[in-house]
Structure formats: structure tokens, C-alpha cells
């Protein structure tokens, strides 16, 4: 085989691989749409599920997912912001910075079921938060920490030195610089992180399945110790237990809603990222 033929063959092979990868997303989207759309009816998002998920809507499941996501971001954001500000503004040792960065990456690569197990043992059992939405939010908060940190760190590091020097030259203390330069100038980076973190939390099932969620028995939590129904648990249980096509269709419907939620959050993050770039070039 001549090298030119080999070259052509390689390019063809690589293009097939690329096509395969891009079509995967399309296949998943198409399947979820095809299977999920029939389940959608006008009240799907605002009605409670009935008859153990066979009929009705997914209102409380959607609420449950949103509660866990909101709880997670409210806990995670201040922690992530504070720690990144410390790492970028105060920590001088290069080794220290590298350790922080690497530990974030390891945390990001940890199987989420382990977050669930360790999180449940620590929060649920040791801190006695039990199987509840609080435990779930705490676990998700830990899980999305690296996502938030990476986003915020990127934004802060991309911030032009000019701004920092100008602030310094005006006699601003490090705290004033953080308050009036770093946080406002990195606003879009922080919000991008928030959306990516929310998307990650929304899609997560394993970490919260046995620590925070329930399939039935509860609609909205009435105390800190109540679990919540979520879209993820709803889908999982319905697909495992489904005895008829209507129930299965409900699961696909919930899946479509969840996918749309994640998709929406990711697109928002994407748009804001564009603005962040514009800001950096200002």
C-alpha cells in the first residue's frame, strides 16, 4: 500500500469516528424525543403523578429535582468562590496552588456513587441529616464543587493584570480589590460555573438515589428531614417496574423534561461564556 493510499484511508477512518461520535448525541436526543413526546400532555409539568406514575404529570418530581439543585448551588457557590479567591489572591506557594488544582481534578473524576456513599455516611449518619433533601443537597454541593471552581478560577486567571494593578495603585486593600474588581469583573465566569454546576447536579442520579430521594409517599418536603421525589428516581423506578407501555412512556416523558432542563442550563452557560470572552478582551 502506498503512503498516499494509507493517508487517505486514515482520514476516511477518522472521519467515520467523528461522524459516529457526533451522531451519538443525535441518536440519544432523537430517541428521547420520540419516546418522550407521546407522554407529554398539557398538564404534564403542573400535575401530580397518579396511580404510582402510570398517569398524571411530574410536578413534584420536577420540584424535587429543582430543590436539590438549588440547595446544592447555594451551599457550593460560597465555598467555591471563597476557596478560589484564597488560592488565586492570597496563596503564594506554587506547590500549594498545584495541590489545590489537582485535588479538584481528582474530586471531579471520583465516581458519583462514592459521593453518595461517603456523603450519606458523613452527612446522613454522622451529622444525622438522615435520608433527606438536605443530605442530597450537601452531597450534590460537594460533587459540583470542582465544576464551579474550575469555572471561577478560569475567569479570575483570565482577568487582565491591568485591572489588579490599577486597583493596587489606587491603594485598595486586597479585600476591596476582591469586592470591587475581581468579583464584579468575573461575574459572567461565576454565573457560567453556576449553570454548569446546576446542569451537573440536575443530571445526577447515583449520588442521591438512596440518600435523598423517594419514589412515593412525599410530595413537597415539609421539614429538613424529608426526602423528595425527583425526576431521576421517578425514571429509574418506572423503567424498572413498568408493566405497561403507558408507564414506560411516563418515564420517557420525565427523561425528556430532565434532558431539556440540562440542555437549557448548558446553553445558558455557553452563551454567558461568550460574554465572558468579550469581557476579557475589553
Amino acid at each position: 500500500m502506498s503512503s498516499a493510499t494509507f493517508e487517505k484511508g486514515m482520514v476516511f477512518f477518522l472521519s467515520i469516528l467523528t461522524l459516529l461520535v457526533s451522531s451519538l448525541l443525535l441518536i440519544i436526543l432523537a430517541t428521547v424525543f420520540a419516546k418522550g413526546l407521546p407522554a407529554l400532555h398539557s398538564g404534564f409539568l403542573i400535575e401530580a403523578s397518579e396511580d404510582f406514575g402510570r398517569a398524571g404529570g411530574i410536578f413534584y418530581q420536577l420540584m424535587g429535582t429543582l430543590i436539590l439543585m438549588t440547595g446544592a448551588i447555594l451551599i457550593s457557590l460560597p465555598v467555591a468562590l471563597g476557596s478560589v479567591i484564597y488560592q488565586t489572591q492570597y496563596l503564594k506557594s506554587k506547590t500549594g496552588k498545584e495541590i489545590c488544582r489537582q485535588s479538584g481534578q481528582v474530586l471531579n473524576a471520583t465516581p458519583t456513587i462514592l459521593f453518595g456513599l461517603v456523603g450519606y455516611l458523613f452527612f446522613g449518619v454522622y451529622l444525622e441529616t438522615g435520608v433527606s433533601w438536605v443530605t442530597g443537597s450537601l452531597i450534590l454541593a460537594v460533587m459540583i464543587l470542582p465544576t464551579l471552581q474550575v469555572s471561577i478560577r478560569e475567569a479570575i486567571e483570565a482577568l487582565s493584570d491591568q485591572y489588579k494593578e490599577t486597583g493596587m495603585a489606587l491603594g485598595l486593600s486586597p479585600w476591596s480589590q476582591i469586592k470591587s474588581i475581581i468579583v464584579p469583573q468575573c461575574y459572567y465566569g461565576i454565573i457560567t460555573g453556576v449553570f454548569l454546576g446546576l446542569a451537573r447536579a440536575a443530571g445526577e442520579t447515583a449520588a442521591i438515589m438512596f440518600a435523598a430521594t423517594t419514589f412515593s409517599g412525599i410530595r413537597l418536603p415539609e421539614s429538613f428531614s424529608d426526602p423528595v421525589p425527583t425526576l431521576q428516581t421517578h425514571m429509574l423506578v418506572l423503567t424498572q417496574e413498568a408493566a405497561n407501555p403507558e408507564t414506560l412512556a411516563q418515564a420517557w416523558g420525565a427523561g425528556l423534561v430532565l434532558l431539556s432542563l440540562v440542555f437549557f442550563l448548558t446553553v445558558m452557560a455557553w452563551i454567558l461564556r461568550g460574554r465572558l470572552k468579550m469581557e476579557a478582551e475589553l
Binding site: K92, S160, Q162, Y163, E165, T166, G167, M168, A169, L170, G171, L172, S173, S176, S180, I181, Q185, E279, L282
Partner: protein, 221 residues
């Protein structure tokens, strides 16, 4: 009367690189001193050392003394933030924040003064830099919409608002057109009445025109 600035045997190194070697000089109050020389000769470093802008650079090391009105600014008891308010620095490329002109002027003093003093201060410093007439009707506009020359004058106004005694100007006209540069040059002469000014420039002509004293870079090296 003790001089505004006294530099005694100043040596500055970055890691193993010596940037300033055993340099001494005195600067009189309310004068303009120009520091000239080719780029990379340490003139910016000298300027930055006078308001401790290099403190955050890990490899930066300084020996010798810098005295302002007889007080060593590198003494451990010195409040570096207060020092930087007394010694203002203007950079080569004007840097305005993506906020209104009004907010930009107040950037360094906003939490330090009363709200009722905002407007008089903004008018005073913008007048001092000859920008008031040009922008008084659009103080709420984004500062980034100003021309580069106007932005540089705004940056000077922002520094003046903090109330410094000494102004350090690091090639303030090098990114400006000739007309804006001339405006800054005449501004420097008028600022001299209340401030001690150190000006880094690579333009001999500019140095001759605005300065009372000249420091040549080869002396620093």
C-alpha cells in the same frame, strides 16, 4: 526642608537578574523629574519600587532605602495601602473599568468619603485634568466609550481623587496620538504646583520640555 523623595543605594533584583544597581538620588517637592532611557533599563522598575507595586512578585528583592519625607517606605510598619494612596501611579496603557465615567473617578475613594462629596470631587478632579468640559454632560456613560487620550486623563483624575502627594507616570503618552500627548504634557506642568511628579519616558524632547530634572537610565544600571 527635606526632599520629597530620597533614594539611597537602591539595588533591585528579580531572581538572579540585577535591574537597578546601587542607585541614589533626591527629588525636590513640587518638581517634575523625568527618567529617560531605552526600554528594559529599569526605569519602570524604579517607578514601581516607589509605591511598592512589586511587592506581590515573588522573585522581587530590594536593598537600600527609599525615603519619602524622611520616612522609609519599606519599613515593616508602613501601611502599604496608605502609601499607595499618597503615591499615585499612572500606567502606560490607560485602564478604565467598564463602569460609568462618574464611577471610574470615584473608584479609589468611594467607600472613604461621604456621598454628598461625590459630585464636587468628580467635578474638581475632572477639571484639574481638563476633561470636565468634554464629559460633564455624559458622566453616566461608560468610560470605555471615551477616546484613549480621554481615558488616560480620566485615569489621572481617578488617581488625583485619592489625593496623592506624589505622582508616578510610566510613559503616560506612549499609547496616545500627538494631540492627546500634548494635552497630557501641559497637564503635567499644571499638576506640578501641588504634586511632586516622576515621569518615565523614552522621548528626550518630552523630557526636556516638561521636566526640571533629568535622570538618565545609564546611571541606574
Amino acid at each position: 526642608m527635606s526632599p520629597a523623595i530620597q533614594i539611597k543605594n537602591l539595588t533591585v533584583t528579580y531572581g538572579s537578574m540585577k535591574v537597578i544597581d546601587d542607585f541614589s538620588c533626591e527629588v525636590k517637592e513640587n518638581s517634575v523629574t523625568a527618567i529617560i532611557g531605552p526600554s528594559g533599563c529599569g526605569k519602570s522598575t524604579l517607578l514601581r519600587s516607589l509605591c511598592r507595586m512589586n511587592d506581590r512578585i515573588a522573585e522581587f528583592h530590594l536593598a537600600g532605602q527609599v525615603l519619602m519625607k524622611g520616612e522609609n517606605i519599606y519599613h515593616p510598619d508602613v501601611d502599604v495601602y496608605e502609601l499607595r494612596r499618597r503615591v499615585g501611579m499612572i500606567f502606560q496603557k490607560p485602564c478604565v473599568f467598564p463602569k460609568s465615567i462618574f464611577e471610574n473617578v470615584l473608584f479609589g475613594v468611594k467607600h472613604r468619603i461621604d456621598k454628598k462629596d461625590y459630585e464636587p470631587l468628580v467635578e474638581r478632579v475632572l477639571t484639574e485634568v481638563n476633561l470636565w468640559k468634554e464629559v460633564k454632560d455624559r458622566l453616566k456613560n461608560l468610560a470605555t466609550t471615551l477616546s484613549v487620550g480621554q481615558q488616560q486623563r480620566l485615569a489621572i483624575a481617578r488617581t488625583l481623587a485619592v489625593g496623592p502627594e506624589i505622582l508616578l507616570l510610566d510613559e503616560p503618552t506612549s499609547s496616545l496620538d500627538p494631540e492627546s500627548a500634548a494635552a497630557i504634557e501641559s497637564l503635567i506642568e499644571s499638576l506640578k504646583t501641588h504634586h511632586t511628579i516622576l515621569l518615565v519616558t523614552h522621548l528626550h524632547e518630552q523630557a526636556e520640555k516638561v521636566s526640571d530634572n533629568l535622570i538618565f537610565c545609564n546611571i541606574i544600571k
